[in-house]
Every structure is written in structure tokens, then in C-alpha cells.
Subunit: 255 residues, 2 copies
Amino acid sequence: MTSIPEVRVIGVRGIPLVKSDDDLGQLICAAAEKQGTPIIDRDIIVVTQKIVSKAEGRLVRLKDVTPSPFSRQAAQNLHKSPQLVEVILGEAKSIVRMVGGHLITETRDGWICANSGVDQSNVSGGDMVTLLPVDSDRSARRIRERILTLTGRQVAVIITDTFGRPFRVGHVDVCLGVSGISPLLDLRGQQDLFGYVLRVKRAAIGDELASAAELVMGNSREQIPVAIIRGYSYAIDEAAKATDVIMPMERNLFL
Amino acid sequence: MTSIPEVRVIGVRGIPLVKSDDDLGQLICAAAEKQGTPIIDRDIIVVTQKIVSKAEGRLVRLKDVTPSPFSRQAAQNLHKSPQLVEVILGEAKSIVRMVGGHLITETRDGWICANSGVDQSNVSGGDMVTLLPVDSDRSARRIRERILTLTGRQVAVIITDTFGRPFRVGHVDVCLGVSGISPLLDLRGQQDLFGYVLRVKRAAIGDELASAAELVMGNSREQIPVAIIRGYSYAIDEAAKATDVIMPMERNLFL
């Protein structure tokens, strides 16, 4: 008898508002324990970028920002504040689109997304914004190591953010950082049901796990910034990098 | 005491190889029942396009296809067979990119994807390919109504396919057809933790549910073409259309 394939996505409630220098690994372990779903080996812990950025002090107060002449100019067309545009451009390696209120950039890491990932929601104090973590794989690794130290449990960690997509309306959560799990599952060379050899398929499981986690995370008032994905079978990959998901420029059909 | 938010993604094993005119609703109910996870009210039944296309007879034998002069010409650059290119173009409303072996088209429904969704994998007989369903929302509705008739259970149904993404390596499953659930969850106007009003966010939950389901679906040899998503709270929407996810051309920044 074969077992039933099942993946559980468990939201972790009760994580307090995160401040700079908070110990995220500890907060996650404590909250999971407290709600009766302690972390176990092989869990995948999915953490939203927002609380990682807060814990790492990646916050900017807009009124402390001096916009450049270019940011002032661009801000008019974009209907954003010049200070916000300055922060967004400061996080960007290049501008991909700047049209009709949209500012799509390439971040220093190479992610292509709106506003370099700079975000005004769920930050206290009105004019504070969060920046993406400096190195989201490193952020993931720190949380993973902390969980191992505190609980002895071997898990994988994924840091996520909410991105729009070309051609499709709406946002989905995608992976921005990983530790212990590759964001891509390479199926090339495998045979299908009838012996046809798959030539192209790599499943972007990092993004799929991120999207699955979003289903239990709160979106506005009821913030659930962490999810546990349990039952998904994966190979432990110590060298995994989320940036493997970034399409190399020479293969980019849409720029 | 608040409950723990949890979503279960359950793969449905034991669905036989699907043939034209098979009763998918019946096959799904029987297989779910047999493995001990019978369908219950509010389940979301996720079904891969491949078996829907087979049940609806959306199959073409390549050797029966006569390619046009343009298909012959294009096939050379694309390193695909002229017959395959002919089938792909026959399903397309426009060509979005045709470069370096890639043929990205806009399907008649408006989906932008590789090869108009025409697929050679998991089809018997070597030169058979599947086309996307003619109307995936209708396909979803039929399965949903059949499940209601057979079990009395009120569910939602999502038809999925595997798409690549601009800017990101790898494929994810996305929704192509829905019945009973909107593919978009509109969060605009809601307030965040600190009273900031979200201005832009619509969560593409149809795509996120599709990606979650992919985590338990087989990718090649062990085919699991159906998943049950249980515990996700949604509003029943009888007017939902998957094509609401298609970005209107005038808002398309990347064409």
C-alpha cells in the first residue's frame, strides 16, 4: 500500500511585532511551540521578508532622505514622493520600466520587481519604509542555524516577498532567499509516463512553496508572517542560492 | 483560543490513464474515496490541464498535420517539427516572441505562454500532442457539477497548467480555469497592522493554489494529476473566470 501524498501548510500565529535585532529564529520556535505545532525535522520554514527586514534594521525614514534632482523629476510622473523614489533608486541596479505610475527595477541582487522591493505597508510610523534584506540567503541561513541550535531540528528556510508578474494580474509570493533547499527541482532528463524524456522542465519549487505559504499568511490586519510547510520531500542542499532563479540577462526574452 | 490556520494539500493517487470522453468528475470522486480521503464540502479540487484535454479529446496526431509554408520556415529556426509549429500557431491569436528556440504566443483565450500550451509530454503514441481545453472555465464547471451530483459536496475546481515566467527561471503551475472560486482576492482598501490602506494588492490565489497543488503532483513517471486543497477559506463565486487574471494589453508593461 502506498501512502497518500500530503503537504501541510501551517500558519504560525503569535509572533510579536518584530523590532531591530530581534532573534527571529527564537521568536519562530517559541510561537510554533506555543500554538502546539513545534518544529520537526524536514519542516520548511517560510518567513516573509517584512519581518526579516525589520529584524535586520533595513528601515528608512522618508523624511530623512534627500532626493536627487532626478528623483524629484521622476516622482512627478510616478505620483510617488521624491523621497520614496530616491530610496527605490538607491536599491536599484537598473530601471526596467518607468511608466504610468510603475517603477520596475532590477535590484542589486538582480531581482526584477516593483519599487526595488521597498514597501510602505505594515511598518509603523507613517513615513517609514522597509528595504529588502542585504543578502536574503544569509538571512535564511541565520534563521535556520538558530532553529538548529535551539531545537536540534534540521529544517530548510525560505524568505519570501510578494511580487507582481508580467502578463498576469495580481501578486503572488515568491522566494527571495533560501537555506538548505534548492529553489529549483531539475526534472530534465526524466522520462514521463510513456518514456518521453522531458527536455526543459525545472520546477520552481522555491516559488511554489512561497505561494503555498501565502495561503495561510495574513494579508493585512491579521499578520501571520511565518508558515511551516510539512510533508514536502526535498533534498537538503547546503549550497542552494535563491538567486539561481534569476533569469540570466542573455536568456531574458522580455527586456 | 484561536484556531491554527492550516491548509492541507492532498494528492489523489489511482486515477487511471484518461481517455477521450472519460467522466473526470467520477474518476476523481472514486480515486479520492478509494484512498481514504473522500471529497468534503469546501474542498478545492485542482486538476491538471493534461487529463482535462485528454478527456475532451483535445489531441492532435502530428503526422496528420500539413504545415503551412510559414510553419516550415519558422520550424527551422525554432528546431521544432513543422507539424508541431503548425499546431502551435493554429492555437495562437498572436506571436509574442519567436527567438532562439522559443515560441511564446498569445492563445485564443489570451494566455501568454510557450507553444500555445501545446504539449508532447505524458501523451501516448509518440507523435500525439495535447491542446489546451477550448474553455477551461467550462471544463472546471463540468467537473464541479459532476462532483456535486455524485457526492452532494459543494467544492471549487481549478484547472492548472505549467508555465514559465519572464525574469524567473523554472516553471510553476498556474490556473487556467476556475469554477466556484475567484482567481483573485482583492485586498485593496483594507488596512494593514498600522492603519495604512493597501492601494494595489490583489492576491492571485488561483495561481497560488495551483502552485501549492503542484507540490504533491507527480512531474513525470508517477503521475498525480489531481490534488485536493482542504482548509483554505474562500467565498463561493459562481461568476468567477480564470481569464480575469490575464493582464489587459493596455496595462501590459512587457510587450
